[in-house]
């Protein structure tokens, strides 16, 4: 356990704190601002369920890591987390609700620029799409549900006091559920990158249940989120709940429910799988952000009432915060990485090398890529994603993005060596016995590319074989991809000696 890991861990905790101070406001902001739930009560419920979500459901997805897991050196990940946290902190100070995920994606883009890595276009699309789609969807759902609730209430003749009780209960339940999901989904971003270097060891509580080292790490992260909720989230809560449009308690509940529905309908793979397996048309999955869904729902209710009460200036500030968050995070990250590398002599990224060797070209040809034009680059080792992509573009200028991505993936040098000692440390709960058995047969094998391991494994065992790419098989393939990434990382070898 190195002291540097502990230092790096602090940026994760800072990020957790920022997440608590900002994102948690989405779940309880309207409830607190409409005075239905006291801030302290909201903070306690939020923290408890955040911790439960992070420890119970977050740990289950630990191997999938968070977005920061893409960064290949711990000091680099530290700085990306720190830049994202700093950006969210500034936004929180200004009382603006932003999405921590977007700050992280922004920081990763900064890291990509610094390390000459290629920025995943889908990450950029994700940011742009959420700016537009999420508030609109939130507004549509907010307005529809508000109308429906109002009609139902006028017919049901519930006593004002009883309605108050139901609304309070609804706000608490929805808030608790929202906090649980927030903890489960975001703990990966806060702590995921430190999973492989967790300073904790498993321990059992009174012999009843065991807390794994990952769960302890996530508990620490969740506590940091909780501290963020208690110390700093009130201001953002007031912006969300009162700054755009003063809401009635029922309106507050409608906002929380609409935001949950938007998040569920447009980001649930489970729902997509359920619809597809029953032969029903699926809802397109689009990236969604809770901050934007909440603000959208508030606007939706405001517009339904004629739009008079909406404070457009506050809304403008919030929207500008959304645009500036990823930009600030990426700039801050870039500058900080420069200092970390040149002043503190830390390795902030590992160089990624690419080569279009004979096996790579054959592999590409098999997967439908015309490789004739690529031969000038054959066996030329190029360092950095961007220089390699530029070289590919030089020889084949009009290549569709999808094929370009395929070439990059195939050519990336990622030495893998299946060794006995690493096989011993494999997580037997995460992989099936058949999958582990297939790996067992490969001991001693060294490979140069990720796809080679996949090809070998899928030939050896059906448990490693991806299914046909359709909506029904999407969850299976996604899970297999996560397992593969875990295996790639586990058997990855830093030295350059590996040969295919």
């Amino acid at each position: 356990m190195e002291i540097t890991v502990l230092i790096f861990l602090t940026s994760g905790l800072f990020l957790g704190w920022s997440l608590g101070a900002n994102d948690a406001a989405n779940v309880f902001g309207t409830a607190v601002a409409s005075r239905m739930i006291q801030f302290t009560t909201a903070a306690i419920i939020c923290t408890v369920f955040l911790i439960l979500g992070a420890v119970i459901s977050g740990a289950g997805a630990a191997h999938g890591l968070g977005a920061l897991g893409k960064l290949n050196a711990l000091p680099g990940a530290f700085m990306a987390a720190f830049s994202a946290a700093l950006t969210v902190y500034w936004m929180t100070k200004a009382g603006l609700p932003v999405s921590t995920t977007q700050a992280i994606v922004g920081a990763i883009i900064g890291w990509n620029f610094f390390s000459s890595s290629i920025t995943d276009l889908s990450a950029l699309t994700k940011i742009l799409a959420t700016w537009v789609a999420c508030p609109i969807l939130g507004a549509i759902f907010g307005a529809l549900i508000y109308k429906l609730v109002m009609v139902t209430l006028s017919k049901s003749r519930i006593h004002l006091l009883r309605l108050d009780g139901y609304t309070r209960l609804g706000l608490i339940l929805a808030g608790a559920f929202g906090s649980y999901s927030l903890g489960a989904n975001n703990i990966g971003n806060v702590m995921g990158v430190f999973v492989s270097s967790s300073p904790f060891s498993d321990f059992s509580i009174a012999g009843l249940f065991t807390l794994t080292s990952i769960q302890q790490l996530f508990l620490l992260g969740a506590i940091a989120i909780g501290v963020g909720v208690f110390t700093y989230s009130k201001r953002v809560m007031m912006t969300v709940g009162d700054g755009i449009l003063p809401l009635t308690p029922v309106g507050a509940w409608v906002v929380v429910i609409s935001h949950s529905i938007v998040l569920f309908l447009f980001s649930s793979i489970t729902l997509e799988h359920f619809l597809a397996s029953n032969g029903l048309p699926t809802i397109p999955l689009i990236p969604v952000s809770s901050s934007q869904a909440v603000v959208g729902a508030v606007i939706g209710i405001g517009l339904l009432k004629g739009g008079k009460g909406i404070k457009w200036r506050a809304l403008g500030n919030i929207a500008s915060g959304w645009v500036t968050t990823p930009i600030i995070a990426s700039i801050v990250c870039f500058v900080m990485l420069f200092f970390l590398q040149n002043v503190f002599n830390q390795v902030v990224y590992h160089e990624v090398r690419y080569v279009l060797s004979e096996p790579v070209l054959n592999h590409l040809e098999r997967s439908g890529v015309t490789v004739a034009e690529l031969t000038p680059l054959k066996d030329r080792e190029i360092t950095g994603g961007v220089p390699f992509r530029d070289a590919v573009r030089e020889v084949q200028p009009r290549l569709p993005g999808e094929l370009e991505e395929k070439i990059l993936d195939a050519a990336e040098i990622y030495p893998i060596s299946i060794s006995d000692d690493k096989l011993m440390s494999i997580d037997a709960d995460y992989l099936s016995p058949e999958q582990i058995g297939a790996l067992d047969n490969l001991v001693g094998l060294s490979l140069l590319h990720k796809w080679q391991l996949y090809d070998t494994l899928s030939r050896k065992s059906g448990a490693w074989r991806k299914l046909e790419n359709n909506k029904l098989n999407k969850p299976f393939n996604k899970h297999l991809d996560e397992q593969l990434n875990y295996v790639y990382g586990l058997f990855h070898q830093e030295e350059r000696g590996a040969k295919s």
Binding site: S34, M36, Q38, H159, G165, L169, T248, P249
Partner: protein
């Protein structure tokens, strides 16, 4: 086991306050009816202590109304219920409870001052009392609807205005009649004083209705 939502601890307190609000409304509408009976008894000249009994009854109701109002106010604040309409509900309960106090004052003043109401004015005095009481009853119905059925508030408020207008017309007519008579000025002024008092009861009920209209708009926003 059959568990009703009302029996759960979470809604137990709420149900208790709901019951107290209903009881307060009952006090006011019962008080209004007793007030009407009392005035009619006085006008009919029944002299066997019946009026004093009715004064006691209306006073008891007023005391009970005040107790309920204070208790409801205490609960709403200490339990932090209905944060957005708490202020409106408290004003509504105070205003509507004030009507009962006002009715008691008028009835007590009539029994103490014993104004001389001649036969020619008696029918109009009764009509004026009935109109004022109907205004109060409609205001109470509107207040009840505010808690359970917000869309019905408007209908009841329409009736409040109608009866108040009716009371105004009767009051003007009665005052003209009083001052056109050949009675002495002090008798005329004494009767006018009570006409104004009864008319004010209807006016106050209409004020409750006006505020209630605003509270309803706020709730439906």
């Amino acid at each position: 086991m059959n568990i009703k939502v009302e029996n759960l601890a979470l809604f137990g307190k709420t149900k208790n306050i709901e019951r107290m609000i209903d009881d307060l409304m009952d006090c006011i509408s019962n008080g209004a009816m007793i007030f009407e009976t009392g005035i009619n008894t006085y006008l009919d000249g029944v002299e066997d202590g019946r009026c004093d009994d009715l004064v006691h009854q209306i006073r008891d109701l007023e005391v009970e109304g005040n107790r309920l109002r204070r208790e409801i106010e205490g609960h709403l604040y200490t339990d932090m219920l209905i944060p957005d309409s708490r202020g409106d509900v408290l004003s509504l309960l105070e205003d509507i409870n004030y009507l009962l106090g006002l009715a008691e004052d008028i009835f007590l003043a009539i029994t103490v001052e014993s104004p001389m109401i001649d036969d020619e004015f008696r029918a109009d005095f009764k009509l004026l009392t009935t109109a004022a009481v109907k205004t109060i009853e409609s205001a109470v119905l509107a207040a009840r609807a505010f808690f359970r059925n917000i869309t019905a508030v408007r209908d009841h408020l329409g009736k409040v205005s109608f009866h108040e207008e009716e009371a105004d017309q009767i009051a003007v007519r009665l005052k003209r009649k009083i001052f056109a008579s050949d009675q002495s000025l002090e008798k005329k002024l004494h009767k006018r004083y009570f006409v104004d008092k009864l008319d004010r009861l209807a006016d106050e009920a209409e004020d409750v209705g006006d505020w209630l209209a605003i509270y309803s708009i706020k709730r439906s926003l």
